[in-house]
Subunit: 341 residues, 3 copies
């Protein structure tokens, strides 16, 4: 498939500056785009790459000064968003295999929607339900009674155990484990006794979960991940957590059991949250922070243990001057010693 | 299955307070239990939920003041432990499929115990041995020569490579990787040379390992996880580590090679242990701590680098007052300057 | 297979001290080696174990004083390297199953090299290419168009999605996920919009990646891991990262998107790198550090946030004396108060 600049500009309501009849065959980053490529730039740093490389066309912000050097410009309000829409024209998602692969094992009572795509070596347990147009990748295991909504993309190599309930348009990347037993033990006379974990793991619509992430099922009630929330790779969500909608949870974050993360929260990479606490709506936490107390809504916290970001910043800047501070205090003490002598 | 309160109370040696003939159909958390549900509460905070929701029956501690509001109470010493025993009555583990699934691939010399349950798409390598009543979930790969004890629950989607040796009643959640090559390299004339990893990965009886956790095999000797130890999700245990019995190792902990964790140690979430060190029996380490030295038996350490917990607490509390401290020192200096002038 | 000490010494150009005709049947760590075993020691600490255990033979450095106590010594420059070469004599890699297992699913256009070993339940997508002698473990999923070089060992239970390109002699341990979608979203009028991830995930020759690690594909260009680089278990590499050659990246490290790690860098366990930064060639970062700025080539940094190692060490040593420092300042203030009164 090829497209003229004019055709592309129309799809994103862009204004063409240069030759609108130029024909493009593919997409590429600004740093390597050639005359047959569409690319995009969001700021001056990347705009400079255009002059060097001579991309065929570039989506650029309305007011950005660009030395076009032969590149046809498409002026749009949000080049990144516009580019996101156009990518699929050049890189169609061709990997879908509708139907149920002959190797898949479906136990009794499975309810398959229309136009599903079930890959090789998939196992679907008794009474599970898979919604219309949902795709299950190779080797994924769906446990008994699991419910998966419509238009989901699951797997490959995922595990959705009994108790998992998924909304629509959920996307699970490879190796995700849902409805895993949480870490729950009662004190018995002869040591800890495992508390059977029988709650649900509810993943709401439009959630995306990165590769090899794990979400425990509730111990008795639900673990919930709210609509539109995105989890990156290798994230851990403990049992009974309630994660709100439209949160961003970056790679390797760990959230201990029974914590509440309200809507729109952003947790940067490797953040840890202790159990039984609340991060208020719209709050954000800096990378690698260790959160041990509640965070009020809308605040930005950082550090170990986490505190309001500015407080952490100020203390950190002193931290790296501590040896100097010690010298200053030592100087006093010497002077005082001399005065006293 | 339904049960009267009397029947349930007898099983846990509880004392009924209210109507013993009430019939219960299921279990639910205190916050959402209805008249047909059994629930439990351990303290006043949760007891208050009973008054609002009207659970059918609740396991409660002997002396806890509860406004029953129609709920029949079952007084027991340890409600959590009692509840753990009763859960299985209402939520039987019905997912076991005895036999060897027709799709499973067993190589020559495999020794299967009686009444095993081998799921679809399982691979079992040459001369491996699977103990009586052990269950292997869908898609799990058992390498050549691997030994799995009796009454284990493995997988789905686990990998037990050559060198793995499991005791009885071991439970591996989805995606666990055992006997993985450790990170071992010798310095060669042309750069690092991989040291072949040929040791064992010994998982003792009653160990539970969470989803997507990894345990390396020994480089030459053994990596060992002691009896009754629990690992949460996404934990990493390096080669040649010796983890004691009855330890709790919470999610995303990482233990570098050749370290020793003695019996009964508790490592909170995201803790990191450097290699070649020892954490003494019964010690505990706070969440996200970075342990770079030995920890004596029985002590509670925290921080980065980890130190005795109180020491870390005191220093941390000063840390967040450092800017104020700098002002106090600055005030001195200004005064001294004035005195001197 | 058994070998005389003489035969072994010849293979590593070692000098025999003791009986060269002794016959060895296996290998063992110094602490448990018996008369039929070869072992090795690198320093005095381990040399002492020889006296107690009576290994058959031991590789030892040229000048190390060893109380042999019956053990035949083989003097070599680098015992660890020599041992690495000899291990495979005693523990041959016998697990290879050449051919394509009958259960494997190969879609159309797959290009298989000669002498490949494709395990049970493997899926290989349209137009993928697998190089000569490469081994694909049980249950691994190779996506459409993926290219795998010669002499690779992949899996079991790995996922190589569309966009993955592997060089020769690459080794992926169980559960590795390559060419996963990165965490990329554009701001849309109704909230974040997923940016289609269409770039490549290029794994150069001689790379080794540990169990359950994840490497994102580029958003539009490439994510690259350079030749000879080693990743340990549970590592995360974000989209568009460029990791150099011969790096060591220890377990649970996370690298956010678009960062550059130059050749020969060493990142210790649980290190986190923020996005869009550069770690210069030959630099090293201490365990659990949080890197938020560029690191110059050749430097050793540590801490949270990371700074030059000595700077962090000095500040950390003061950190744990802060309560004492506060007392010293308090003492001044009291004295000043008394002076002033």
């Amino acid at each position: 498939m090829t497209f003229t600049v004019r055709e592309l500009a129309e799809r994103v309501a862009g204004v063409v500056q240069g030759d609108p009849d130029r024909r493009l065959e593919g997409i590429a980053p600004a740093g390597s785009a050639g005359p047959e490529h569409l690319t995009y730039v969001v700021n001056e740093k990347y705009a400079r790459l255009l002059a060097d490389n001579g991309a065929g066309a570039a989506l650029v912000p309305p007011d950005l000064a660009v030395e076009a050097n032969g590149t046809t410009l498409i002026r749009v309000e949000n080049p990144e968003l516009a580019f996101s829409k156009l990518v699929v024209l050049f890189v169609p998602d061709e990997d879908r295999r509708p139907g149920v692969h002959q190797t898949a094992v479906l136990e009794s009572g499975v309810n398959l929607g229309s136009d599903v795509a079930i890959g090789p070596f998939v196992t679907i347990g008794t009474d599970a339900a898979i919604g219309d147009r949902t795709e299950i990748g190779s080797g994924t295991v769906i446990g008994p009674g699991v419910i998966v909504g419509t238009d989901c993309r699951i797997g490959p190599s995922c595990t959705l155990l009994r108790g998992a309930v998924l909304g629509d348009r959920v996307r699970l990347h490879a190796g995700v484990r849902l409805a895993v037993d949480g870490f729950g033990y009662a004190s018995g006379p002869d040591g800890p006794v495992k508390i059977p974990q029988v709650g649900r793991c509810v993943i709401c619509s439009d959630v995306e979960i990165g590769a090899n992430s794990t979400v425990d099922r509730g111990s008795l009630g639900d673990t919930t991940v709210g609509a539109g929330t995105r989890l990156d790779n290798l994230v851990h969500i403990g049992h009974n957590c309630r994660i709100g909608s439209n949160c961003f949870i970056v790679a390797q974050v760990g959230i201990a059991g029974s914590s509440v993360v309200e809507d729109g929260v952003r947790l940067a990479g490797q953040v840890g949250l202790a159990g039984h606490l609340t991060v208020g709506a719209g709050a954000a936490v800096g990378a690698q922070s260790g959160v041990m107390t509640d965070i009020p809504a809308g605040e930005f916290w950082s550090g170990y243990p986490a505190r309001p970001h500015r407080m952490w910043l100020r203390s950190t800047s002193v931290f790296y001057k501590l040896p100097e501070l010690v010298k200053r205090i030592g100087a006093f003490e010497r002077e005082r010693g001399e005065e006293g002598s």
